[in-house]
Amino acid sequence: MSDVYEALQEIVGKDYVSNQIEECYFYGRDPGLMPPHEPDYVVMPKTTEEVQDIVKLANREKVPITPKGAGLALTGLVIPQRGGILLDMKRMDEILEVNEKARYVIVEGGTTHAALMSYLIKHYPHLRHSVPDSPPIATVVANAVIHGKGRLTQQRGFNSDLVSGLEVVLPTGEICRIGSCAVSQYWFSKGPPLPDLSGLFLGWFGTTGIITKLGMKLYPCKKIRDVMLFLTDKAELVPEVIRKLTHTEMFEDIVITASPIPLRFKGNFYILVFMTADSDEELEFKKKMAWDALWVYFESRDGGFVSITPDMKPPFLAMPSKDTTRFADVSKGGGFEYGGPVTPIDNFPILIKKLEEKAEAYKLFYASIARVIDGGHSMGFYFSYTFNRANPDEMKRAKKALHEAAEFALEEGGVIWKPNINEQQMIMERIDPNTLKLMTSIKQLLDPNGIMNPGNWEAK
């Protein structure tokens, strides 16, 4: 193994490899609830060629590789289940190109969402990308690989839908381009009009290759952003509220939140309706459309818009959302994990009931966020429970609650988002056998030595 260490030093330089206990400890866990497992080496490549050399070395030595962004999925997806090389991609952080008119950006595999956002604000203020609510260190690639969501998900779909091209180091070490960039200098499409091969890498959690460059679609950045807040205490009304709002095709983002704390929030559902505009007139028109769409609930006294004072707005409008992260300290214990299904919006009432039920049964704080996806074709519903990392019993309870909630969501027709390895097994037990066979064949074909993030999407 010391040969591997020396070979890694040779590839990336001695400053960027560690086999020390401290790095292995830190990179062997994430802030969620999955058990740790430590890598043997932590490596930080700077170039695609270095990644390529590392992959070739790993194949030669049959050492597992786990590529990692910031590890903020919280479901242990980059915990190296069988040790080996942990590839911290964050040194590959260049923003390589912005095509202003075709509206896409090409970034390296470890570029953070925050760096991209900051770069666009500074250099291309009329363009934006879909910023997730995760902390700023979340990387563009990792977020796409887990089918992450962002501020434009309601309008444009998953962040993986917005990918416009990939450069991938295959598990056997070849560099492969996916999408229009495979035949052209332009990165405008991840598939069409070619066969869409991006599906071989997005959603696979690094088990089929390492994305070293990614094209991401950009969208117009309007001059004004604003938010309205609709409140109802009737969960059963939420799907219809969402249907009415999405029917207008007016809004940037629609998010439903529920939390028992502070106490005044308990039993209420807050629907945040985000909108953008280039003029006050446009903004007022969009607000009027929201009012008109939901006026019926005001009349029936089932709900209504809550006034948000200007000083209350910045936290709602912040990108990324610091409030999302603050949830981790509700139990003053540094932990929360959120999981849950992508599911039809009609399932909102039963899911929220289950969330509350499990919170009560296991004596946990909860919060729920549901984000509308792609004009209402589905939503991401998150079961979120906090826990105190200094309280093993509470951690156990949170884990059970999440597991049972995930089982329920699957039974009700949802598909678990960023599933941990146990939830992946739950999915694979239910999945169409031929689909599973296809997935297994694809993995074997691409990764004959089984070195890529082993333990994930691995049929038993």
């Binding site: 802030p31 900051s118 604000i121 700023p136 260190i137 932990g335």
Partner: protein
């Protein structure tokens, strides 16, 4: 002081990584993370490792200690962390260092720093009798002087720091201010000792200084160094410090406003480095800038990261001596030197002898010394005072 509570609180860090950034997320603003790039060197990494050490999941090691001491206590993490415990983060780190010191488990370089201060009263192992060698007959403080000019270890022994001390003496003399120095009787301020976790030695130094000030009837102290300013302003009161403390930029700015100093015309573009212990620790952002802007013809061009987002020079927590972040093009001071150069400024102004030393060396390492001069604000001001 949250130091003692750190063990019961430190698990609250979620390692979300906000601590790595400045406000606009344009780059990485944690000096040790930017230098080493392993997450273990970020604040989140450090806090998780300390917690692991407390739980017995990892053993103490030289590497662990270096990770802990590579933190310059610049307070960027405190500025950026979204959690309610943000103000306590540096205290937690200092608390863990304090535990390490008590167990005798610290990096060799840090141990040498303590030994030097303990044995010689300064981290450079210079003779106490040489403490005023820079002073060239500067008047010692006597009862009735309005201010004590406290020059600190860098001002006393470091070549760059001595230049600042001499400039300050000249400017204050020219302004007619009544002041004196302590000379050989001056003790180390203890700020770095405190940050490095040697609480006992810090208390001893604080007590000695406080007693000396009391004995001489000192009621107003001017410090050259933001580190000393911070210790006396924020930490000494626990040691019963009863005197007013000013950083020299506050005094000079006041003298300029009162027309007691009138700089002459200059034509130069200057950029300014906010010292962490002046800015993030004590919210002094305007006075240094006002001094520079009082010099007619000076164009102050900010670096992209400034004020509460300023990037630390890497010298805090004794690293101007221990230099745990050195040896790379990614060393914070070298990054900062490049940023300063990108502004097109001819002078990188500082208001801290530690920044002056760190950035002077960095500018040389970057081979920029013929295009970018690093000068303390006192030096710049003295340069543009009317010729007598």
């Amino acid at each position: 002081m949250q130091q003692k509570d750190y063990a019961s609180q430190i698990h609250r860090c979620f390692r979300c990584g906000y601590c790595k950034f400045p406000t606009d997320y344009s780059s990485f603003n944690c000096p040790s993370y930017r230098r080493f790039r392993f997450d273990s060197y970020s604040t989140g990494g450090r806090l998780w490792l300390i917690y692991a050490w407390l739980k017995g999941e990892i053993e103490w090691s030289e590497h662990f200690a270096e990770i802990l001491y590579a933190c310059t206590t610049c307070k960027n993490c405190t500025e950026q962390c979204p959690m309610k415990f943000a103000p306590d983060i540096v205290d937690w780190i200092v608390g863990a260092r304090n535990d390490m010191v008590e167990k005798g488990k610290i990096p060799a370089r840090v141990a040498r720093f303590f030994e030097a201060v303990y044995g010689y009263g300064n981290p450079f192992k210079q003779l106490r009798s040489d403490r005023a060698a820079w002073a060239n007959g500067t008047k010692k403080y006597t009862a009735g002087d309005e201010y004590l000019l406290y020059v600190g270890c860098l001002g006393s022994y470091d070549e760059n720091g001595q230049k600042i001390a001499r400039c300050m003496v000249d400017i204050l003399n020219a302004s007619g201010l009544s002041f004196g120095i302590l000379g050989e009787e001056e003790e180390c301020c203890g700020n770095e000792i405190y940050m490095l976790g040697e609480t006992g030695l810090f208390e001893n130094l604080a007590e000695k200084n406080t007693l000396k000030f009391k004995e001489l009837g000192v009621s107003k102290v001017i410090t050259l160094c933001p580190h000393g300013y911070n210790a006396m302003k924020n930490t000494y009161p626990a040691s019963d410090g009863k005197f007013e403390v000013y950083h020299y930029t506050q005094i000079l700015n006041d003298l300029i406003k009162k027309n007691k100093i009138k700089p002459r015309q200059a034509e130069v573009r200057i950029t300014y480095q906010d010292p962490c212990f002046l800015g993030r620790y004590n919210n002094i952002y305007d006075e240094p800038r006002q001094i520079l802007q009082s010099i007619p013809g000076i164009e102050l061009k900010e670096m992209e990261r400034n004020r509460q987002d300023a990037f630390c020079c890497g010298g805090g927590s004794g690293n101007f001596v221990n230099d745990l972040l050195a040896g790379s093009v990614d060393s914070p001071a070298r990054i900062r030197a490049r940023e300063a150069y990108e502004t097109g400024a001819a002078i990188l102004a500082v208001a801290c002898p530690s920044c002056l030393t760190m950035l002077t060396d960095a500018v040389k390492a970057e081979d920029l010394d013929d295009r970018l001069a690093v000068k303390d604000i006192s030096q710049i001001l003295q340069e543009f005072l009317p010729v007598k």
